[in-house]
């Protein structure tokens, strides 16, 4: 696999939340607006990138049996760093993301990439993989956040373009499930069509 492929596979082909169905909790929980989605995405990307680098550096030193606990401690350390940074520099974002920043520790994407990729590959490849997966996650959070913000409050990035209220249900809890369900179905539909057109060519 070329370097570029490692970077781009996480963005579309193996998008963590829309295709691999990992990290559902933040995908549903923080996407009330496009801005929150991007903020959460960047925080997760940061943790993914650093933990992937760190784990691929120490992979030779850690005995196989205590692998998972060690990974969790490494990830938890970076999550604490991000948590404190966000609280210190962007308190408004910390307020709206709340509990979901410390919960990056138990986000299956981070541990999944550590186990499936960083513990087997070199440092540069792991870095690209972490970055790609993080960007893919950010992209899907942005799409879902934007859909919910446009439908729910008739605004994008906080700029209102309609008068009055939007369809309130999309900002509330049920809307998260609906939007994610339909976005996921759309992605699968496109994939299915691509597959069948490839088959026809043969």
């Amino acid at each position: 696999m070329s370097k570029l492929q490692i970077l781009t596979k996480g963005i579309i082909k193996e998008n963590p939340s829309l295709i691999l169905v990992l990290g559902m909790c933040p995908t549903l929980g923080v996407t009330t607006s496009a801005e929150n989605g991007i903020g959460m995405g960047i925080a997760t990307t940061f943790v993914l990138l650093l933990s992937n680098i760190m784990i691929s550096l120490v992979k030779g030193v850690i005995p196989d049996k205590v692998r998972i606990p060690s990974f969790i401690v490494i990830i938890a350390t970076f999550v604490s760093i991000v948590d404190l940074l966000v609280q210190g520099f962007v308190p408004a974002l910390a307020e709206s993301l709340g509990l979901f920043i410390p919960l990056i520790v138990v986000n299956c994407i981070v541990l999944g990439r550590a186990e499936a990729f960083a513990s087997k590959n070199g440092i540069f490849d792991s870095m690209l993989d972490g970055l790609g997966m993080g960007l893919g996650f950010t992209l899907s959070l942005f799409i879902i956040g934007a859909c919910r913000e446009i439908l729910g409050s008739g605004a994008i990035f906080g700029h209102k373009f309609i008068t009055g209220d939007g369809i309130l249900i999309f900002v509330l809890a049920p809307g998260a499930f609906f939007v994610l369900g339909f976005v996921m179905a759309l992605v699968r539909h496109i994939q299915n069509r691509k597959k069948s057109s490839q088959l026809e060519k043969r």
Partner: protein, 191 residues
């Protein structure tokens, strides 16, 4: 009376799955059959109550007096991971029958964000005693149990219906969960 209100609030009004979006992974992953869903829910209830009891004790008597609040995330996740391992070993020895029933779900719980989420949530409520925290965690976990069992029942019915190709599996499950979340919104003014 206070406790009854808190318990109803945790189970129905602020249901952990439908209004807080925690524990979605097991909620989607282990809800194929009502039986396995009930097993997962029971295991989560057990671990969540125990974990919150331990983490809130550690938080109150170790982390806060020493000014180590920034270590919270690391300490809590280690406690939960160790606790899950310990419960697994003890259960294997004491009650093989229960271990058979819950065993396969236990390792999955370490990465269940609901457990860590509740443990962190109760530390943010300043006036919570350790007893309050444990009751809060137990009630929240019962809310999870309720949600996952209802959802598994719905998914069993869903299997029998014709669904468009692209919607099969997770997407239609998410839409179903959305409708269920709307139903749970009806409890909003209960407490």
């Amino acid at each position: 009376m206070e406790y009854i209100l808190m318990i109803i609030g945790c189970i129905l009004v602020n249901n952990i799955v439908f209004s807080q979006f925690l524990g979605i992974c097991p909620f989607l992953g282990v809800s194929g059959k009502t039986g396995t869903a009930a097993g997962m829910g029971a295991a989560v209830t057990f671990v969540m109550a125990l974990a919150t009891l331990v983490t809130s004790t550690v938080n109150k008597y170790v982390l806060l007096p020493l000014g180590l609040k920034f270590m919270q995330t690391i300490v809590f996740i280690l406690i939960i991971a160790a606790l899950v391992q310990m419960v697994e070993i003890i259960l294997k020895k004491i009650s093989p029958a229960l271990y058979q029933a819950l065993g396969i779900y236990l390792p999955l719980i370490t990465t269940n964000c609901a457990v860590l989420g509740v443990a962190i949530q109760v530390t943010q409520k300043a006036d919570f005693s350790i007893l309050d925290s444990t009751i809060f965690a137990t009630a929240t976990a019962i809310g999870f149990l309720l949600a996952i069992v209802i959802f598994a029942g719905l998914r069993e019915q869903l299997e029998l219906n014709k669904v468009p190709n692209a919607m099969k599996g997770v997407p239609i499950a998410l839409v179903t969960a959305g409708i269920l979340a709307m139903a749970f919104m009806g409890f909003a003014n209960l407490v």
